[in-house]
Symmetry: C2
Subunit: 220 residues, 2 copies
DNA sequence: GCATTAATGCCCTAGCTAGTGTATTACTGT
DNA sequence: ACAGTAATACACTAGCTAGGGCATTAATGC
């Protein structure tokens, strides 16, 4: 019956602990189920059973299935957004630019391809026709933010002469998709076989950086 | 009540025309519905109504909902596979390599980003947990085949000295994702706003090729 | 300790969905 | 013209699902 306290968000600290705990276990169970089975494939009874909570509690706390869905996505989006913000933050002022590009690439590829972002993306794509605003929201807040941060860093590096970047937004896209485009795409479709090994992810990312540097390096 | 004869596949020509016609309208309606609403979001009654066919006919011809789903995907996969085969076919023996790369890029990007492949991919990603074999099958037959064809062409071009390609498979991925990676990714998430204009698609594709050439060109 | 508030259990319902059965009608090939 | 076959209309079942009601129990804050 114990609920790991780390599941409870700081925002809920002032609430009745019963509420905070219930919200936490419900959100965790619902995320699992929604990501695996989609919106229609998830029943509120399933979530209640998996969260070891009465169905009534879910309705009391969230109102209904759709609100529950939006709640778990809001939480996931905040996480994704936070991650996106500080992915490329150390890039602009780097001394060793290629090294920092490689570090950024590896960080990015690992957390996107190897982490829990892939199931989130699968869910949002699956429900894109049912909840178009949610998919659009995710896109602007997570990948969009990564691209914007990357682009700004690349612009800096161009001004410093460390790279030759014409269109920083385009270069940011090229960077991201050279580093992890194929791996991410594949991951969306392959479910049974385990995700690629870290070494594989890193290797692809680093070779993507090499290509990027040949195209955008100062000597190119 | 007339059924456009072009909907009827050549394989069904020897069948009872009533069967051929029914299959054709059912598959068309089911594809529409499945792509828009997913497997669970599509009811057999919906499909029957949209196809102007009795529900019983669907069960008589296909057996059940799952078989219907597999049937429409089998058809879509054949189309995607056929397209994939001849995307990069003219590349290996090209005289003007950059020009042919650009032509290939534009062809690829237009048909993937601008066409009916995006809804197909959305559906397969959405149902990847329910039908993992189907998603894996698509991946090896459509994108996999494009990559293989591209890689072989790039290998040829390397041997001819027209490009400098180390790892042809990797270079093929880099080409494809430079050309249309970002656009394809975005298209999966954005549903309401109409697909990007042809000029936009072409522009992005061509600028992807420029980056590719800076990295893999013979002078690089 | 006590008033408040949350959680539970259990029942209930209204709607939808996959799938079947059957008798009747309409079309096809010969 | 006729036999065979496909399509239809319609009624039906069994199961599931979102959601609400309500009395009872348990935890919380003071």
């Amino acid at each position: 019956m114990a609920t790991p306290p780390e599941l409870i968000r700081a925002e809920d600290a002032d609430l009745d602990p019963r509420v905070a705990r219930s919200r936490a276990v419900i959100v965790a169970a619902a995320s699992e189920h929604f990501m695996r089975h989609g919106y229609l494939g998830t029943s509120v009874d399933d979530v209640a059973a998996e969260a070891r909570v009465s169905k009534r509690t879910i309705y009391n706390l969230f109102g209904g299935k759709e609100e529950l869905f939006r709640a778990i996505l809001a939480e996931a989006l905040i996480t994704a957004e936070r991650f996106a913000s500080d992915t490329a933050s150390s890039l602009a002022e780097a001394d060793d630019v290629p090294a920092e590009l490689r570090a950024t690439a590896v960080r990015l590829a690992r957390s996107v391809v190897g982490g829990r972002i892939v199931p989130l993306r699968r869910l949002l794509i699956a429900e894109a026709t049912r909840f178009p605003e949610l998919a659009a929201d995710y896109y602007s807040r997570a990948p969009g933010r990564v691209m914007a941060t990357l682009a700004e860093a690349l612009r800096h590096l161009d001004e410093r002469g460390a790279l030759r970047v014409d269109d920083a937004e385009l270069a940011a896209e090229h960077f991201a998709f050279l580093v992890m485009g194929a791996q991410l795409d594949r991951a969306l479709f392959t479910i049974d076989q385990e995700p690629p090994a870290i070494t594989e992810i890193d290797d692809r990312a680093l070779r993507g950086v090499e290509t990027f540097l040949r195209a955008y390096g100062p000597t190119g």
